[in-house]
């Protein structure tokens, strides 16, 4: 379970990004976080991965109080979360397989187990044939699938996808969403931040709308409303 408790985030120069936001996401849920640019979607996600600290309030992931973790404890928190970025953030000097394996290497997993898991997860995202290609040799949709594979490899409790379809065409975007739904069916919690109305309306999951740093609406089976 993820819990945001009365969160306020004010950036320097008194830019208010989130204001008294309280929110609970249950295990296994698929949540769409919608809102215009600057509504506070990305800030909310960054608070969960502890890239940002709230000005006020507390964030929980299960029993862990994220806002209370020391710098040294952050790696362990982040291994419990898989993140899918809009701009992929793939390592250009590493092959597809190496990019995916990397997330497991850091936790000290043995080589043969990593090899086996990488092969499984690449199969799941349909990229087995591109394992030895470098990121610059594959398409945008394929890159995003590599990112999902990387996010999945260490079997995280939740997957955060921040505008994962922002750089993709309609067909590739649909494929990525289908992949996320499939992963959700396997039991993972998914938080999808997007402003793609068509996708949100189509999948009919829980929709949380943010407007000027506050929750404007929160509906299960909701539509894109801002």
């Amino acid at each position: 379970m993820i819990k945001f408790e009365n969160i306020t985030k004010v950036y320097p120069k008194k830019v208010v990004s989130l204001e008294h936001v309280s929110l609970t996401i249950l295990d296994g849920e698929f949540v769409c976080l919608v809102g215009q640019s600057g509504a506070g979607k990305s800030t909310l996600l960054k608070l969960l991965t502890a890239e940002e600290k709230p000005t006020e309030g507390r964030v929980f992931l299960g029993d862990t109080e994220v806002t209370d973790l020391s710098h040294g404890e952050l790696p362990y928190l982040r291994r419990r979360i898989g993140v899918v970025f809009q701009d992929y953030k793939l390592l250009s000097k590493k092959t597809v397989a190496e990019n995916v394996a990397f997330a497991l290497e850091i936790s000290g997993e043995k080589g043969n187990i990593i090899k086996e898991k990488v092969s499984q997860v690449l199969k799941l995202v349909g990229l087995s044939s591109k394992a030895n290609n470098f990121p610059q040799e594959i398409s945008g949709g394929e890159k995003q699938r590599v990112v999902i594979a990387r996010a999945l490899i260490h079997e995280p409790e939740i997957i955060i996808a921040d505008e994962p379809t922002g750089n993709l065409d309609r067909i590739n975007a649909q494929e990525i969403i289908q992949l996320l739904l499939k992963i959700n069916d396997l039991g993972n919690t998914i938080i999808l931040a997007t402003h793609d109305k068509e996708i949100v309306d189509h999948i009919e999951k829980r929709v949380i709308s943010l407007k000027q740093g506050k929750i404007a609406s929160d509906k299960i089976g909701g539509k894109y409303v801002i």
Binding site: G72, L74, R78, K89, L90, K93, F102, A103, I106
Partner: protein, 303 residues
Amino acid sequence: MRITNFFRVIRRGISSFQRNGWLSIAAISIMTIALVVAGSLFVVNDLAKTVTQEFQDKIDISTYFKEDAPETQVLETRKFILENPKVKSVEYISKQEAWETFKERHQDNEVITSSIEEVGNNPLYATLNIKAFNPTDYPDIAAMVGKSNFSEYIQKVNYEQNKTAIERFSSIVSAITKSGLFTAIFLSIIVVLVTFNTIRLTIYTHKQEIEIMKLVGGSNWFIRGPFIVEGILFGVFSAVISMFLLYLGIFIVSTRLTSFLPSSDLINFYISNFWPFLFMEIGIGVALGVISSFIAIRKYLNV
């Protein structure tokens, strides 16, 4: 850190070193220059010591004894002077010895030879030639000899005659030492800053990589490790290359240098000090690489 991760970090460091070929070459080149400068300072320091030593060995003050001064008193004076810790050596040249040397030196000069025969007896004085460890101490030593209980046997101390030369030499030696030290510190600071900046740039190119590693849960040591391994590799490679370049430089300079400074033997100095020299270069190189990497990466780990 687990042992699997330890080897993984080393492997990733080596792999990054190979894959970022041009960056590695740039970093090694800058560090090689740094190490050649450091090595040259080491060689120049030795050369300065040789030159100083050579000049110092040529300087002394002579104490001439009166004709009737008994040899026992001369030897007592020698013993007394040697007790002073500033004194390096005192050479005794007896009246007879001085006379023999004089005759031998001028045996081909007929005028002098005939004059010697004319004089018949030995007109020279017994002498003590005093050398100090430090040329700045000559005034004190000369004063000490002049005021001692043995002064009644002493004809003269020739410090006053050599005073200007000794003082000038002392000031030159002290100026060389001071400016050498200043130059060494100045160059070392520049070299450290340039190396640090080069490594900072190589790490800057990995900025996004570091950020991603942090976001997928990489610990600071796991991320830092490969850069430190790279820093070590930069250090070792540049140390070996700089040793070769230094040898080349020494070889070229040495042949010309020996013609006007015969006591200098840089090639021999290089060969006899090869291993300590190599370890010093590797030590400086590795320390520069590791410390620079360590500091440069710090700000990117704050994600």
